[in-house]
Amino acid sequence: MQDLAISIIFKGNNLLRLLDGLWITLRISLLSAALSIPLGILFGMFLTLKNPISKFIGRLYLDFIRIMPQLVLLFIVFFGITRATGLDLSAELSAIIVFVLWGTSEMGDLVRGALISIPKHQYESSEALALTKLQTYWYIIIPQTLRRLIPLTINLVTRMIKTTSLVVLIGIVEMLKVGQQIIDANRFDYPSGALWIYGVVFFMYFFSCWPISCFAKWLEKRWSDK
């Protein structure tokens, strides 16, 4: 007798396997985010330098990484670099390299935007109030920069989580791949399994990203009128 189609999710340890897959996705994206945020802050400061050579290098890197689809970057690192240099990079390592490269450029641009958004009169006013350089940065500039930066950074993290879904295409067994395996293994018992499994995958992504973006929105609202 045919079971109810939805029970495919709870059959055996299917749900646990999917959650394991989710963890792989999250691990790659959170690790990449943790690496690219500090690198991105440095890169953003590098981008505000007035030196024309550093400006050119920064723009070139930023524009190339941002113009290429992330999947193309994944292919370049996973297939191209390994073929060209003979290095044996694992799929997960290539994914992390790509997401750090990409995250650094995105974060760098956010930091640059936040830094140049502080109007000059903020510096001048604090000087007029006889604050020292250190006090100016500590009490005036950094709080304002952070207020702009933190919500955007949190959004970047959700974008990273979403983009990590691409790693299935270079052969990492994450949630989508586990879903496929479950569907294939139960093709005869649950012919309509695909609907439920992909539905669950859809909502697992949603519930990983949604609270984070809500938090970002809340912070943005809270800090906007101060």
Binding site: L71, V72, F75, L166, V168, S192, F202
Partner: protein
């Protein structure tokens, strides 16, 4: 670098680029229409519809396109809705892009201050004139950079279509790597193709942002 190989397979890339662009353009146009409708619904706070729109926006913004496509392409046939890969591509892109476009339009509309409405009204304009001559020009100026950024983002997202067996640029590159093991050449062509498509648009984005920065009133 094997230039013979490159020139031999250039037509394949051109075909694939056409498909990518074709689906991209259809998807982006639908996304703009959806975004416009959603932003109007939210701007006028039409009951029920505006709740549906906000659920849609949250769902579409917080899930990856790849997962949406898998759901459309593999999941939907199980409830009797069979869509071709091309249709899935367009629908997926419109579903994803609609919410981003809506946010873009919304931020533009919200940036127009109340004083603008009040001044326009005190000059004796009617509701339609206020929209046509005062609000929309300013709102558009604010939202155009976001819209162009969304177009670039959506064109980049088309690269995942290869996963549902659409013969786009990614698919051709993967195919050639698999068939001939010409990894460097295939990837080089891939990068070149995306640069040719996306570079002009991103230059346009920079230009527009510069042009429109001074369009708003009072900045």
């Amino acid at each position: 670098m094997d230039w013979n190989f490159i020139s031999q397979y250039t037509p394949m890339y051109i075909e694939a680029a056409k498909l990518t662009l074709w689906i991209g353009v259809l998807g982006i146009l639908s996304a703009i229409v959806i975004g416009l409708l959603c932003s109007i619904v939210q701007y006028y706070k039409i009951p029920i519809l505006s709740q549906i729109v906000s659920v849609y926006i949250e769902l579409s913004r917080n899930t990856p396109l790849l997962v949406q496509l898998f759901f459309l392409y593999f999941g939907f046939p199980k409830i009797g809705i069979v869509l071709s890969a091309e249709v899935c591509g367009v629908v997926g892109l419109a579903f994803l892009g609609g919410s981003y476009m809506a946010e873009g339009f919304r931020s533009g509309l919200e940036s127009v201050e109340t004083i603008q409405f009040e001044s326009a009204e005190s000059l004796g304009m009617n509701q339609l004139q206020v929209m046509r001559y005062v609000v929309i020009p300013q709102a558009l100026a604010v939202s155009v950079p976001a819209l162009v950024a969304n177009v670039i983002f959506l064109l980049k997202e088309t690269s995942v279509f290869s996963a549902i067996a659409l013969a786009d640029l990614m698919y051709v590159a993967k195919d050639l790597i698999g068939l001939y093991y010409m990894t460097t050449e295939s990837l080089f062509m891939l990068v070149l193709a995306y640069l040719i498509i996306l570079l002009p648009i991103s230059l346009l984005a920079v230009y527009l942002e510069r042009r429109l920065r001074y369009a708003g009133f009072g900045n």
